[in-house]
Amino acid sequence: MIYVLFALIIWVAGWGLNTVIANGRGANTSAARISVPILFGLTVVLMWEVLVRGLNVPPVILPAPTAILAAFKANTAVLWGDFQQTFLKGALAGYLIGCGSAFLVAIIVDRYDFLRRGLLPVGNFVAALPIVGTAPILVMWFGFDWQSKAAVVVVMVFFPMLVNTVAGLRDTSVMQRDLMRTYGASYMQTLLKLRIPAAMPFIFNGLKIATTLALIGAIVAEFFGSPVKGMGFRISTSVGQLALDMVWAEIVVAAIAGSLFYGLIAKIEAWVTFWHPSQRKH
């Protein structure tokens, strides 16, 4: 019981501190903005640790954060190999192929109005479907290695990217297009100098959605069959061995990879679309 009380004290202390910071004078400074969520995260992790240790929760149900950290440190080589297999090979290759081909198809679709009216509703429809379900089929076609994972990722990212890019290419005003026409600009010049730059916020929106989908696709596809490495493989086999500290370590890797990938795309977005209102610094 004493540990529950202890955890409660940690919670009250952490939350209280956050309340003071959040409602204090310096609440709008960037230091407060960063420190409050970190404090909250630390509070939760600390409570987790205290409760797991104090209540003797068996590690096959919930390992303590320190145990996860230990598993992470002890297995860095394995985790790195899994990361390479799933992220660098499967997810990244699929992401590049899927987003690249969707971009090219979007330009063709945009050129022909008939295609746009036909393909866009179909694309919107497909984007809402549980596409991870294609994983068993694609694993059957492309084998167990990373190629099949890349294929799943291609299918998953293609339609969201297509729909966003097509929407972006239409996001120019009549005035802007008229100006290009008075300059005597050709289709290619209008496309390269006006419409693709104007579409960039939409394109990056699609790219950002696709980062998460790529990781999900690569990991779930491994549940359907994989060589003896990869994050999805490790998760499903470690769950079978009840080595939950390893599962959590793998999830930590996935979380870091996912947020870094997203962060990287967001950074590139800020650099490319510096002119857009949403990127302006106040």
Binding site: A22, P37, L39, R117, L129, V132, G133, T212
Partner: protein
């Protein structure tokens, strides 16, 4: 007609492409089947053919390629085979099957309706929990600055994390507590639909602009009056948009949640099909899941239309 025409053309083109693709995809299986039926095939023997390119085989055996669209366990089943499988595993199984609804009084465990129902119940239960908690958290975030600053960044970051990876572990952990069946899958579904709803709902509750909030302040409206009369109504369009995302995510969660435990459901059906090479079964389950997703999203869209109309929003 002007709207349906292009869509119909695209769909027909996809189906036509599919039929064409069946020929090279299934050439090995087609030739093996033809050889077994006693038709001369060059070269003889499946092993020799396995080393040859698909298109070389097609060129040498153009006479027997008509079988490409009726091979059993094809690498790529033709659309009509999938439709037939869908029909067999729904209507035929339930009406004529020994274990079907008509003869045994309960849904057959070989039918997609049975598996679809398992998945659907987990999806809907999980979605209801996830969306409900999501709305509650959003209300908390809008009213408490502490909560906003502590929780909101995590809610946003969590959207960039492949949460699905947690699914097998949640199943096993809940199993060790003696909880199995519907609940673990619903937990995964709830978890997946939770964060999109939180983020969308917070955006929605914050959507009234300063002018509207100022007006209510001049009326001396209380916090709860502001919430019920301004914030909640103006959040409705945002809520429905995120509900649509949420229910699609819930369905994915339920399907993935069915992979580790082979106890029925569309996910189990897909994995079973991939173990035994029953490609038609996988495709049928996939199309069934797709139809379910489309129906669920359409249902929410319909409710959205009705609600917004009642609220007097011009659609």
């Amino acid at each position: 007609m002007t709207k349906a025409g292009p869509i119909l053309t695209v769909v027909l083109a996809i189906i036509a492409l599919w039929y064409v693709a069946c020929v090279p995809m299934n050439v090995q299986e087609t030739l093996t089947a033809a050889e077994r039926a006693g038709v001369a095939v060059s070269p003889e023997g499946a092993r020799e053919r396995a080393e040859m390119g698909r298109f070389a085989l097609m060129a040498q055996n153009s006479g027997v390629l008509g079988g490409s669209w009726s091979v059993d366990r094809a690498r790529l089943p033709a659309p009509h085979q999938i439709v037939a499988e869908l029909w067999n595993s729904t209507w035929n199984e339930e009406v004529y099957g020994r274990r079907g609804l008509v003869k045994s009084g309960s849904l057959s465990n070989k039918s997609l309706i049975y598996h679809g129902w398992i998945t659907l119940s987990a999806t809907v239960l999980g979605f209801a929990i996830g969306a409900g908690l999501g709305v509650l958290l959003a209300v908390g975030i809008v009213h408490s600055k502490t909560m906003d600053m502590s929780v909101m960044p995590w809610a946003i970051v969590s959207q960039t994390i492949p949460i699905v990876a947690l699914a097998p572990m949640i199943i096993v952990v809940l199993y060790s507590f003696g909880i199995q069946g519907l609940i673990p899958k619903a937990v995964i579904s709830a978890y997946l639909s939770f964060f999109p709803v939180v983020v969308g709902m917070v955006k929605g509750l914050r959507s009234p602009d300063a002018m509207q909030l100022d007006l209510l302040r001049t009326y001396n409206a209380s916090k709860s009056q502001t919430f019920w009369m301004l914030r909640l109504p103006s959040s409705v369009p945002y809520l429905f948009t995120s509900l649509k995302v949420g229910i699609a995510a819930s369905l994915v969660g339920a399907i993935v949640g069915e992979l580790p435990v082979q106890r029925g459901g569309l996910g189990a059906r897909m994995l079973g099909g991939s173990y035994y090479g029953q490609t038609e079964q996988i495709w049928a389950a996939l199309f069934f899941a797709a139809a379910m997703a489309a129906l669920l999203v359409a249902l929410i869209g319909w409710i959205e239309g009705k609600t917004l109309k009642r609220m007097g929003v011009q659609a």
